[in-house]
Amino acid sequence: MTTLPQSTDKKLGLVIDLDTCVGCHACVISCKGWNTENYGAPLADEDAYGANPVGSFLNRVHSYEVQPDDGAAQLIHFPKSCLHCEDAPCVTVCPTGASYKRVEDGIVLVNESDCIGCGLCAWACPYGAREMDPVEKVMKKCTLCVDRIYNENLPEVDRVPSCVRTCPAGARHFGDLGDPNSDVSQLVADRGGVDLMPEQGTKPVNKYLPPRPKDALPEFDVLAPFLEPVIKEPKGFLDWLDKALEKI
């Protein structure tokens, strides 16, 4: 069993905007690229060109259809990666101490040299956010690009997770959710950001911004004044036109 820190200095995490995520998978692949080349073993792909390709990814986008009681069905794109929970069950379940939560910033990491690939952490995570690497047989998970966000070899503006840097729709935000004045905390407050599955008691650091109401264009009755006809009789349009032209 591994213990969690009593508290962390910061709570670094992501805020993901489900209102603007178009489901393009840019974050998924950018993450795959950075983390294949960087932290720990490369993210492997088994049977890469074959019948059943299985690779490890630290971030995936799922799509869900939602059928409201009234109105058209909707499609919600839902990117999911480790939520860097305050009460991370994946850490406490780890038999070797390989899984741990950093005191400085709350990032949950796997120390691959101590990981025995038992898979208990993946079983304990209620979000399915951990994946066993198919070749290296160590547990893989989002590092919040810990090797980018403090990386002095990168320009300061690039010291964000690769998924945030690449997101074309600007649907991903990174910051300290432990600081109520941070941009991300403000965004969560303004947009009514939510925890994923709060009932699990994991206290996830990452937050999701819910989609705004859809198909909410007012009914025509409300908008009707904007289409008030100017034509009262058959030849009315040209009469109106003459009068209207006098005014411009």
Partner: protein
């Protein structure tokens, strides 16, 4: 830090070097930073300084490392040794490859250049490849626009002198209502996503019109799940509502459009429906100040939308009168169209009202003074914050040209084009159709063609017909079948060449066009045409040369393969002469350069054309002494001048006193300057010149300085396309050049000079009632994605998505299989339910399905066993009408391939082992990919 917390390296070295070039995973052309370690590609990210993507990058771009290293890359020139379609090749030297190509091409050129058909697929070097084809002398050249979105491009250019995507964009900084029609998930990849994110961030409304609610439509605030092919009707109904309510921008219409231009209104006149013009050919209007007839562009003129003029016994009425007659008709009332569009009448009204509200009640002004082409000074720029974007969904129907025109007419009526908050052109646009070349077909054996192949026709006199009236081009572009086919008809080339209609060819030469698979209609038929033999046992299409970087399905059907490089190994220019990377506020172009050298015996196709052009002695490719003019494509990019001082790249040209932009002599250091600047060049349009561009003196002056025009080109938007009326007049019997009788009625009916909607040809569709569509996913681009080890894990299968209602009606559940048939053929495929879908439409991802043996995939890869193409259901011809004629399944105006007119029926069947039709494997000329990937180039 607790003592047991591991120490990790928080600042690992990212790379040894960053090289900045341009992505090529799609036509979006984003700037990328390629991180190298030990000379190998380690990581690819977006270039923050780049005008297109500003640092972001999509999944395709980030997966470039897998594209660049794909096992499907061709390794050397190949000569076919087995039968066509077998995939049996032997590797040969470039010398031998050139010898073979020359042995086929030289006699053609000397004898009859039309025997070469040279068509390119998704390349971005059309100004170069067309220059080569022109030098060769064949009239048979085009790129892929005809089977892609020519309707969108041609409708935009004919109507307003510019089109969406490469040539224009919404004013993302000011728009408050953004409406998009028929945009597949992948189109204009990053800019649209960035724009939607930006405008949603400030609470602007997004309305998506699309039968499928995925991608951009999934995040749209309002979704209109329209019946495919009826967008034009929906748009014209909104125009009806807006005109009836007077919610149109009369000042804008009078000043900047042809609404006030007078039309001959005498049905008995041979010039009925043509513009009234002065002796200089300028459109005439009535000046509201003086009441006199005057050319539209005279200083101080206030064109009148209302007055009529009688001259020589003929009444002339303004275009606007005719628009009122047409669109105020109850035929376009929302109630009249609602059922066909599948949109309730009051929803149509509500959306029209919202357009009116935002355009007029939320109008605003930008504090930029400007002077218009008539010399009138304006203190501010009026903005109307409504913008639109559309693409293939409305384009790829046989009524697509008129639908796209209807959309542009809606934009213009609202006064939202080239104004703050609306839709804005990107240089080199605005550029009216009249400023483009016309098609050229003048051949001289052994000599060049007499001008550019493609262009814009302005009447029957511009058609590409031989003296006997038969088509001059193998694809029958610019003929009475489809007079305004500005991009050619690539989808008809193989079919026509096989049928010998209008004539037989000798050599088919193609680049990056997967014609024996996902880039053709009637895929199985095309395979037969490519392998069909004549009575002598020779192939009906005698020679096929093909260039591709990858082992695509088309490779197997070719005789000679010229292996191209990957996008990281090559030079390219994304040129102002072609499809540049401009933004509405800037002219910009870019390069690709070999950030890594090829490790195979391959060569950039354009460099191969420089070699081949020199061997054949093509004008433009040899020096006066007959020696090779351009050593390679890079040499051409730097040193070619299209007109004196105008070359492929606009940045860092040589002036008399030093480097300058736009015009200037070649500069040997130009590519180094581009590389130093991150791979691109940008020149910003000054404030005050960056809106109202077609009419703005400051913009016109800037464009001349940049070399975009040689003189100012102000013009009026043409909601009324006079050339279309000229084709109708011919069909009515006027003029010397007459259409064949079997086309007269169709020309009269479809070529209305004002946008109309008509139902596409439904012959043969009895019993086939369900619309069937395809789109590409955001993370893939056509066939290129499937060989990509990372991307194929996102989209390795493509079920047929079926709406809930049709699932129930056909007793289907997820995982079941259905036989899907059309008047042309049938496929058997897995289905999946989708609720957020028009309830009479099915769809699938395009080009996920693969032929066994292609793309270095295992033969049991899901792409080959479960994947499928809808292409098998779509014929390139309409069902026979019994007249012995071959009627193309294309827009009768532009020849755009009507992919989305497809109608099908479904039937549940027992699950077969694999999707059908099944084709035998082709032998892979590159072998198979490795089993596992653990890709880390650094230590």
């Amino acid at each position: 830090m607790p003592k047991d917390q591991p120490v990790i390296d928080l600042s690992p070295k990212v790379s040894d070097e960053v090289r900045k070039t341009t992505c090529y995973m799609c036509a979006c052309r984003c700037g990328i930073n390629v991180h190298l370690k030990g000379g190998k590609v380690a990581y690819i990210e977006g270039n923050r300084d780049h005008p297109v993507n500003q640092g972001v990058l999509c999944a395709k771009g980030s997966a470039g490392i897998m594209q660049h290293n794909a096992p499907s890359r061709l390794k050397a020139p190949l000569k076919r040794v087995g039968p066509r379609g077998s995939g049996e090749f032997e590797e040969i030297s470039w010398e031998e490859a050139y010898d073979i190509a020359e042995s086929w091409l030289r006699p053609i050129r000397e004898d009859n250049p039309e025997k070469l058909a040279f068509f390119t697929g998704r390349d971005q070097s059309q100004s170069f490849t067309s220059f080569w084809a022109q030098g060769f002398g064949t009239p048979n050249y085009a790129a892929h626009g005809g089977f892609c979105s020519v309707n969108m491009a041609a409708a935009g250019i004919y109507t307003m002198g510019g089109a969406f995507w490469e040539f224009g964009q919404p004013d993302w900084d000011h728009t408050k209502l953004f409406m998009l029609f028929g945009v597949a998930e992948d189109h204009d990849s990053n800019p649209i996503k960035m724009g939607i994110g930006k405008i949603k961030g400030r609470g602007a409304r997004v309305i998506g019109v699309n039968p499928i609610r995925s991608g951009y439509n999934a995040v749209a605030d309002d979704w209109v799940g329209i019946t495919p092919g009826t967008d034009g009707l929906f748009i014209l109904a909104m125009i009806h509502c807006l005109m009836k309510a007077g919610k149109i921008d009369l000042h804008y219409l009078a000043q900047y459009t042809d609404a006030p231009v007078l039309l001959n209104s005498d049905p008995k006149s041979p010039e009925y429906g043509l513009y009234m013009r002065d002796e200089n050919g300028k459109q005439l209007v009535i000046d509201r100040t003086t009441g006199k007839l005057t050319a539209f562009d005279q200083p101080g003129v206030k064109p009148d939308l209302s007055g009529t003029h009688r001259a020589k016994g003929i009444t002339h009425r303004p275009v606007f009168h005719q628009m009122a007659d047409m669109y105020l008709s109850d035929d376009y009332a929302p109630e009249a169209v609602a059922d066909r569009c599948g949109i309730p009448a009051n929803r149509i009204r509500a959306i029209a009202a919202e357009l009116a509200r935002v355009a007029f009640d939320e109008a605003f002004e930008l504090d930029h003074a400007w002077t218009d082409f008539r010399g009138e000074k304006h203190d501010t720029m009026i903005g109307r914050p409504v913008s639109f974007h559309a693409m293939r969904g409305i384009s790829a129907h046989a009524n697509g040209f008129q639908t796209c025109r209807a959309l542009h007419t809606l934009q213009i009526l609202l006064g939202t084009v080239e104004v703050p908050g609306g839709f804005r052109f990107k240089p080199p646009y605005p550029k009216p159709a009249t400023a483009h070349p016309k098609p050229h077909i003048g051949m001289t054996p052994g000599g060049p063609l007499n001008g550019p192949h493609l262009g814009f026709v302005h009447g029957p006199e511009d058609l590409a017909l031989k003296e006997d009236g038969t088509p001059a081009r193998i694809d029958k572009a610019f003929t009475w079948d489809n007079p305004m086919s500005a991009h050619g008809l690539m989808h008809m080339v193989i079919s026509n060449a096989h049928a010998g209609d209008p004539y037989k060819i000798d050599t088919l030469f193609m680049y990056m066009a997967n014609m024996s698979w996902n880039s053709s209609m009637n895929t199985g038929g095309v395979m037969e045409m490519l392998t069909d033999k004549d009575e002598n046992g020779d192939y009906v299409i005698p020679h096929i040369i093909y260039s591709d970087a990858y082992s695509s399905e088309m490779v197997a059907y070719s005789d000679l393969i010229l292996p191209d490089t990957t996008y990281l190994e090559r030079h390219d220019c994304i040129s102002l002469l072609d499809r540049p990377i401009c933004e509405a506020d800037a002219a910009a172009d870019a390069i690709r350069w070999p950030v890594v050298e090829p490790d195979r015996n391959v060569k950039g196709f354009q460099s191969a054309l420089c070699d081949l052009g020199a061997r054949l002695g093509l004008p433009g490719f040899v020096n006066d002494d007959g020696s090779q003019k351009y050593a390679d494509y890079a040499d051409y990019i730097v040193n070619h001048e299209r007109r004196p001082g105008i070359g492929p790249l606009a940045g860092w040209r040589m002036g008399e006193t030093g480097l300058q932009d736009g015009r200037g002599a070649p500069n040997e250091g130009q590519l180094d300057q581009y590389i130093k600047n991150g791979g691109f060049f940008v020149s910003h349009i000054p404030d005050g010149a960056n809106y109202y561009k077609p009419w703005n003196k400051a913009y016109q002056g800037w464009a001349v300085e940049m070399g975009i025009y040689d003189s100012p080109q102000p013009y009026l938007f043409t909601m009324y396309v006079e050339p279309m009326r000229k084709f109708q007049l011919a069909a009515e019997g006027h003029g010397d050049r007459q259409p064949p009788d079997h086309l007269r009625e169709r020309i009269k009916a479809t070529m209305s000079p004002l946008p109309i909607w008509y139902e596409t040809d439904q012959q043969g569709n009895d019993g086939f009632t369900v619309n069937a569509l395809t789109q590409r996913p955001m993370a893939m681009y056509h066939s290129w994605g499937s060989q990509n080890a990372w991307l194929r894990q996102l989209h390795g299968r493509n079920p047929l998505y079926v709406p809930t209602k049709l699932m129930r009606e056909n007793g289907l559940s997820d995982g079941d299989w259905a036989r899907v048939s059309s008047p042309h053929g049938e496929i058997t495929v897995p289905v999946m339910e989708m609720a957020a879908l028009n309830d009479n439409t099915v769809w699938t991802w395009n080009a996920i399905g693969k032929r066994k043996g292609a793309w270095a995939l295992d033969e049991d890869a899901p792409e080959a066993t479960k994947g499928f193409l809808l292409n098998h259901l779509i014929h390139e011809l309409l069902p026979p009408k019994g007249d012995g004629l071959r009627w193309a399944n294309s827009d009768p105006i532009t020849g755009q391939a009507a992919w989305f007119d497809l109608k099908v029926r479904l039937e549940k069947v027992a699950a077969p082992k694999e999707s059908r039709p099944e084709y035998p494997p082709i032998k892979s000329p590159v072998g198979k990919g490795p089993e596992n990937l653990t890709w880390k180039v650094g230590k």
